[in-house]
């Protein structure tokens, strides 16, 4: 700490150059925080997946529906404790940009499958009684200001009604929350029976099945048993864990993790060049001063530490400012896009990784000039002064 003033003063020796370097670090870490938060949202479904839940989809693509008749056959498979199903509705509320997950489900079995969802008993009962009823998660209710008793029109983009209309109206019967702090509740559920009866096409099919294996059953064996049942049928199945399903679902949007990694890789590589150049210039300009420090008795390691600390300090100033602003922006995005992209969150792990990156980048950028300063010959440097 006693060297801090010296390090601080040296870092600000050329104010404009240091400010520009800090600005580039700031932008890099702002981008890092935003991309991490968005990546986190895309990964959220994978992380909260239940290991005992399996998802059954069409072998070729999730878009192909499966016959509703499969439910009983799946339920009869050894190792299956319970089954439910869901389908993709793909509508929006009022404006096309107000998209969120809407799923026609079987109320009874669906809520039994997801015990992490909590809803007052009387609301669940009311929903079960009302065929045109729907329930929504707390995040969605908050995002659109809905309350129980509201009548909510949803515009379909796929499922037109038999009467040719694309407007589906629902009564909001309940609002549920989740026990899992990372789980999203930005979704809307309504009666499959009502949906199947009213839609213009696709009757008798569902999007996918969700099943829970019995305690002690091997999920891999259960998955194999289900898929072999439907082998060579018109709708062959692919059964996987919830995590694998969530991952393949997200990959429909592209490999988000890979995109994030590539962008950040390019940004950090450029950052290393910029800050490495700053540190090299800074050390080159004060060779004689470093020689004086060594003359006064500062050892090789002290000089190495001073230069490296300067590099790390510049990274930390820019990085923490970037991360801080990123955190504020992420709060805004999370509120704004709660319904469309739930789970946007700058996680503590991302913050720790970010700070580690700052220190690591500081060491990398400062290492070459620091070693040069450490190896400096006092006599040669003073003779050149």
């Amino acid at each position: 700490m006693k060297y801090f003033r010296l390090i601080w003063k040296n870092a600000w020796r050329k104010k404009i150059r240091t400010s520009l370097t800090i600005l580039s670090v700031f932008v890099a870490f702002l981008l890092y925080s935003l991309l991490s938060a968005i990546g986190y949202a895309f990964k959220g479904g994978i992380d909260v997946a239940d290991a005992e839940r399996l998802i059954v989809i069409d072998k070729i693509t999730l878009i192909n529906p499966l016959p509703v008749s499969y439910q009983n056959r799946i339920a009869a498979t050894d190792g299956v404790a319970s089954v439910t199903h869901a389908s993709w509705f793909g509508g929006y509320y009022q404006e096309p940009q107000n998209q969120f997950g809407q799923f026609p489900v079987d109320p009874e079995s669906y809520f039994a499958m997801y015990p992490e969802f909590n809803m007052p008993e009387e609301q669940l009962d009311a929903w079960k009684r009302n065929r045109t009823g729907m329930v929504v998660g707390q995040e969605l209710a908050d995002a659109y200001g809905w309350k129980v008793g509201d009548r909510v029109p949803i515009q379909a983009t796929i499922w037109t009604r038999k009467d040719g209309s694309r407007t589906w109206e629902f009564d909001l019967e309940g609002i549920f929350s989740t026990d899992d702090p990372r789980g999203s509740t930005a979704l809307m559920l309504f009666h499959y029976d009502y949906f199947d009866e009213a839609r213009a096409f696709g009757q008798g099919t569902v999007g996918w099945y969700i099943l829970r294996v019995t305690g002690g059953a091997d999920p891999v064996q259960v998955a194999k048993a289900i898929d072999s049942q439907f082998a060579n049928s018109p709708s062959e199945t692919k059964t996987s864990t919830e995590a694998a399903f969530a991952k393949s679902f997200m990959e429909q949007f592209g490999n988000i993790a890979m995109i994030v990694t590539l962008i950040l890789g390019a940004v950090f590589f450029t950052l290393l060049l910029v800050s490495g150049n700053t540190m090299s210039q800074s050390v080159r300009e004060r060779i004689s001063e470093l020689a004086v420090l060594k003359t006064l008795g500062f050892g090789d390691r002290s000089v190495l530490g001073i230069v490296l600390s300067e590099s790390i300090l510049i990274m930390l100033i820019g990085g923490l400012l970037g991360l801080g602003l990123g955190w504020i922006i992420v709060q805004g995005i999370a509120r704004q896009f709660a319904a469309f992209l739930p789970g946007v969150f700058l996680s503590p792990a991302a913050i720790v990784i970010g700070i580690t990156l700052m220190v690591g980048a500081g060491i990398l950028a400062g290492m070459f000039p620091a070693v040069k300063a450490m190896r400096l010959s006092i006599i040669d440097a003073l003779a050149r002064a």
Binding site: K2, Y3, R5, L6, K9, N10, W12, R13, S288, E289, V292, L293, K294, T295, L296, G297, F298, G299, D300, R301, S302, I378, I379, L382, A385
Partner: protein
């Protein structure tokens, strides 16, 4: 004077310049009594600065031994030598070599960063050193706000702040006008006479050398004693 502070025995220093070996100092023997003020004169390239560097542990002899304050510094490791330098030697350069980003006070405090003194003690000792060189009122000034003479006074304060026995001065007045140079030399005399500092000063200037107790002439790697003017 009470005994010998520094001693060079059979010291030679050879540098490799391209394919050629250049012997700057040749089999040199020298004793520097404690409390002495020596001026070393001689033409450029005669080995004056090399002698200073060897005494300060900035360079090592090719052969022979250098002993300062009872410690044989020519065989010390680099790290040990750095630590030893911080408490035993004060350096004063021709171009002051202050750190431009630090105030006079902070420049003087620099050698104390290597000690275990707390911030208050460092500040107190730096203030005393600045008082000795007559610059208490410039403590908060940056080097760019000081004249050449004032900068050299700050450099002297930095050299004495850790209370070393030996001050090594390389052309300390080479960048100053006559009047300011004489002020600096008088200050060195005070440090020698009143504070007991042993001083070895390299200079080209005969008038500067006259402030010393004795003069050594360095030429072609050997030393010869001459009377101070």
């Amino acid at each position: 004077m009470t005994g010998v502070l520094a001693k060079l025995e059979g010291v030679s220093r050879t540098y490799q310049k391209g394919k050629e070996k250049v012997e700057v100092l040749h089999n040199l023997d020298l004793e520097i009594p404690d409390g002495d003020f020596i001026a070393v004169m001689g033409p450029s390239g005669s080995g004056k600065t090399t002698l200073l560097n060897l005494l300060g542990g900035l360079d090592r002899p090719t052969s022979g031994t250098v002993t300062v304050g009872g410690a044989e510094i020519s065989s010390m490791s680099n790290n040990k030598l750095s630590r030893w330098r911080s408490t035993n030697i004060g350096f004063i350069f021709q171009f002051y070599n202050l750190l431009p980003v630090l105030t006079a006070q902070r420049n003087v405090e620099l050698p104390l960063l290597l000690t275990n003194f707390g911030a208050k003690e460092r500040a107190k000792r730096a203030a005393i050193a600045l008082d000795i060189v007559g610059l208490s009122d410039r403590a908060r000034h940056y080097p760019r706000e000081l004249s050449g003479g004032q900068e050299q006074r700050v450099a002297i304060a930095r050299a004495i702040v850790s209370d070393p026995k030996l001050l090594l001065c390389d052309e300390p007045t080479g960048d100053l006008d006559r009047e300011t140079a004489d002020e600096i030399l008088r200050l060195l005399q005070v440090l020698n006479r009143e504070h007991g500092k042993t001083i070895v000063m390299v200079t080209h200037d005969a008038q500067a050398a006259a402030f010393a107790n004795r003069m050594l002439h360095c030429d072609k790697g050997t030393l010869e004693a001459r009377e101070a003017a």
